[in-house]
Amino acid sequence: MNFESKDYKLKVGLAEMLKGGVIMDVTNADQAKIAEDAGAVAVMALERIPADIRTQGGVARMSDPKLIKEIQKAVSIPVMAKCRIGHFAEAQILQAIGVDFIDESEVLTPADEEYHINKHPFKIPFVCGCRDIGEALRRISEGAAMLRTKGEAGSGNIVEAVRHMRAIQKELKRITVLDDEEIIGYSKNIGSSPELVSHVKLHKKLPVPNFAAGGVATPADASLMMQLGAESIFVGSGIFKSSDPARRAKAIVRATTHYMDFDIVALESEDLKEAMKGLEIHDIPEDQLLQTRGW
């Protein structure tokens, strides 16, 4: 892995530009405008938000390029789009239409149960979900330029994102105190390379930004995830499944910037109308969990 290459500077560089901001799921040009006006740093263009994918079922695929192009025309901030895990042909299409970032996402139905996409040959950066340090480092080995917690998309419940962020932060701390002779054994146990683990030990952080996703629904959720170590926030269903999306979007943006200024987070939490209803994680049948897709 050459983290000093030009290719890496450009890919991770764009991820750096999105730090401290909010990336919002949108399903049409009007929603994209609302997101941009609220101060989103990027939008994720998709046909159905995760909460609807969950209730409607069926195979969830990459969005229609026509829809993505309409959203690209509507806003001047970066536009991201999702492809299925392992579906490199969908990723090639997204690159061809000039998407700024590709999310190889467990929210869509996986196309390959064995392999994720080899992301190195692409000019466009990728973001991937992860639940623990091993998954995070494997995605980086494959070329991901940004990570995000998987959380449980479309649930409106922050508990899984918290679990995943804490798991990663705990292991990051542990890696910094590993002796050199422990690194190979540790790498084998988490399914990553000793080189990458050594890199993390040296720099005391992941080589790419790590954002929070999967269940963010309120300004307080955003502040919580930032305080736990997230560098930005993805909001999927949480905005456009709430009663007043424009107001909630603005509130989550401000709470993310000022996540340690509790007067501002309190102010932004006031009178927001109803949040999305949300799901108790234990009520989701195990075979319908999105976070267990990919490895």
């Binding site: 030009k6 500077k9 450009l10 560089g13 530009m17 730090k19 901001g21 910037t257 200024d261």
Partner: protein, 192 residues
């Protein structure tokens, strides 16, 4: 000397990392109180639309304008955009602290982002620098009192006035601290 980095959104940590390496004290700036404690300010790369909206929401917009009358400000990429007199693609309100006209995303989308060698004119000497251009803007024109000091082919990519230093690329994404050093000297000169 303490340099603030606007930490509304964007790669502010990368700027802080360079400053720390140069033994300069640095703080993240999210409100006017924090700004008042600084001897100079850097506005980082990020999304210019978001930066402008949140500067306004946090009363930083007018505070930064006042700050510029007495102290130095550097802006990279989005930071350059928000400091410019006029913005195109699309038109946005800006701080109007340097007389340049700027087109956002002028090279295209992320697929058109690139790294290329640029020429800088620092202290009357021409030097090379690695320019990292990410969804970068272009300087359409420079007005009176604005000195172009960086070029990619014939395009101006870095410029300055007595108090303001701007670049369309990201020196903070390289390990080369020369542009930050140049800004620190500029800021010190103004304080004297």
């Amino acid at each position: 000397m303490r340099i603030g980095v606007a930490a509304i959104q964007g790669d502010f940590e990368r700027h802080q990392r360079v400053l720390t390496k140069l033994n300069i004290e640095t703080i993240p700036v999210r409100n006017p109180v924090q700004l008042r404690d600084c001897h100079a300010l850097i506005i980082p790369g990020g999304e210019s639309t978001t930066l402008i909206k949140l500067f306004k929401a946090n009363q930083l917009f007018n505070e930064i304008k006042k700050f510029a009358q007495k102290k130095a400000i550097m802006g990279t990429c989005a930071g350059l955009i928000v400091l410019a007199n006029k913005i195109y693609n699309p038109p946005l309100e800006s701080l109007q602290l340097i007389d340049i006209e700027v087109t956002r995303n002028a090279y295209g989308r992320q697929v058109d982002s690139f790294v290329d060698n640029i020429r800088l004119n620092l202290y009357g000497k021409e030097v090379q620098f690695e320019g990292v251009f990410i969804r970068a803007p272009k300087i359409k024109s420079t007005g009176q009192g604005v000195e172009p000091i960086g070029y990619l082919q014939n395009n101006v990519v870095m410029a300055e006035t007595s108090h303001i230093l701007v670049s369309t690329f990201h020196p903070e994404l390289t390990d080369d601290p020369r542009i930050h050093e140049y800004f620190i000297e500029k800021a010190k000169g103004i304080l004297k």
